[in-house]
Amino acid sequence: MDAITVKNLTKKFDDLIAVNDISFTVKEGEIFGLLGPNGAGKTTIIKMLATMLKKTSGVARVLDWDVGKNPDEVRRSIGIVFQDPSLDDQLTGKENLDFHARMYGVRKKIRKERIEQVLNLVDLFGKKDILVNNYSGGMRRRLEIARGLMHYPRVLFLDEPTLGLDTQTRRAIWEHIIKLNHEEKITVILTTHYMDEADFLCNRVAIIDEGKILVVESPENLKNMMGEDIISIGVSDGEAFSKKLSSLNWIQGVSHGDGIINLSVKRGEEKIPLLINFAQKENLAVQFVSLHKPTLEDVFIDFTGRNIREENGSTKTLIRDMIRARTRK
């Protein structure tokens, strides 16, 4: 059985088509990422799957339950961390968690245990009896995530779970998500703006832009689709060196910048020693070397034609910028 089946799903808000005829499936046990710039339609997709928003047309199923026809069954199988705030700030952190656990029928004994566990996970144990009203923004976010990870649903939706969190907390949450996925066999659908997050967590990602899915692939395959690694190297006599390079047939492209030579190669990490040996044989001193492998971000820019934080600029100039950025790193 698939955890999620989406066929020709469409959502219109008056004139705006927020989700435009998309189809994808998520297998049980997968961690699936939805990647896209602001306003791409990620949250709208999740809201429809979580029965919070009625679809305009198409099919959306969670564990074979139709979200329109069997919303109760769907709600019984899912958990969700919302992108927008959804805490009661007149309750304490612990009370918010307790409310959640009771709503989801978590038994009394497990309830205490889980509350403690997730509070420790997000490092809020010491603040558990303070009103959420007195929490900082990041603490609220952490509490929301903790709450979402408390009952173990079969399908877990995480809408930008780690937005605005510090690195340590993000790491801890990533590891916990992976643990839930492995040990509890929880299927996870997450949206994110962070490429490293998608890369670290997801078995597959869908890149979404303007309500359309552009591609669904594993992060590895996507990065391979981007082709070569780039080695940037500086040597004492750049001119001489670059001329000699033409004898190396594994180099697929050469370009120059101010004293930097950029080479596109396959499996760059193995080529660096070869290059250094080569330079030494030619009696040239290597000043620096760096390797840039394509990241999910590059893939993303390639597909959406823009940086995740930028909204305009033509595809061409951005791809050029991207290549420049890649070679500069």
Partner: protein, 257 residues
């Protein structure tokens, strides 16, 4: 329809409402202060300066006013509790409630349980204040049916508040409801003046108003003074209560986030 009704969920929402009620001290003070002023100022002011020709001898205006102000307290606190769905929507907590795997019916049940509890506490505080001002209950046993009337009022108007809140997108409609629903219901309920000898249009509107029968029932039981028969008061309140429960549940079930 009732198979998904879970008492645990009702308890959970009730518990949340109690915690919020206990913490929001300023809200409680405001909720009690207003009826207190009505009693103290209107009751004393009008009571000592004017003679209501429709009031039987021995019943002064303050006595007459106490059940009315109890009705007012119930109306306000229940409507606000129902409308607090709007706040929950604004602050996002409604998402947390609605996405949970529990029936809408249990959720409404929980909200109403919370609202009825806080409403009864406040109405009885007003009754206590009334006693302090010299109000005398006709017969102690009458308190029990009076409680049932208070509950009917509270349930009905909480459900009405939920119904309105389900149809409203944001908080802007709140003032409209305050001015065009809550206030007219209060003023036209006979809480402040006797229904005898009213001009016919006013009397007609008062008879259309469900709170009229609530206030009349309270007055009948607590004061032994009434305009309609207690059977009629109960019947109309029960019908109104069922209608509001139906409407509130229907609209709440169909509200989008």
């Amino acid at each position: 329809m009732f198979k998904n009704f879970k008492c645990e969920v009702v308890y959970n929402l009730w518990l949340r409402e109690m915690k919020r009620f206990v913490r929001a001290k300023s809200r409680l003070v405001a909720n009690i202060a207003q009826p207190f002023f009505w009693l103290a100022i209107m009751g004393m002011g009008f009571g000592s300066t004017m003679k209501f020709r429709e009031l039987p001898p021995g019943v002064d205006y303050l006595n007459f006013l106490v059940p009315g102000i109890m009705g007012m307290t119930l109306l306000f606190s229940s409507m606000f509790a129902g409308l607090s769905v709007l706040w929950d929507r604004q602050f996002g907590f409604l998402k947390e409630i609605l996405v949970a795997p529990v029936s809408r019916l249990s959720i409404i049940g929980g909200m109403i349980a919370g609202s009825v509890t806080t409403g009864l506490i406040q109405a009885n505080l007003i009754l206590l204040i009334g006693l302090f001002f010299g109000f005398r209950i006709s017969h102690p046993a009458a308190l029990i049916p009076a409680m049932i009337i208070m509950m009917l009022i509270a349930v009905s108007f909480t459900a009405m508040g939920i119904a309105f809140a389900s149809k409203m997108e944001d908080m802007h409609g709140f003032q409209l409801i305050m001015n065009f629903v809550i206030m007219p219901i209060f003023f036209l309920s006979g809480a402040l003046f006797p229904l005898e000898g009213l001009p016919s249009w006013l009397s007609f509107l008062a008879r259309l108003n469900p709170l009229t029968y609530g206030v009349d029932g309270l007055r009948a039981l607590l004061l032994g003074l009434s305009h309609f028969s207690i059977q009629l008061d109960f019947s109309i309140l029960i019908l109104f209560c069922l209608a509001m429960l139906g409407l509130g549940t229907y609209l709440f079930k169909n509200c989008e986030l």
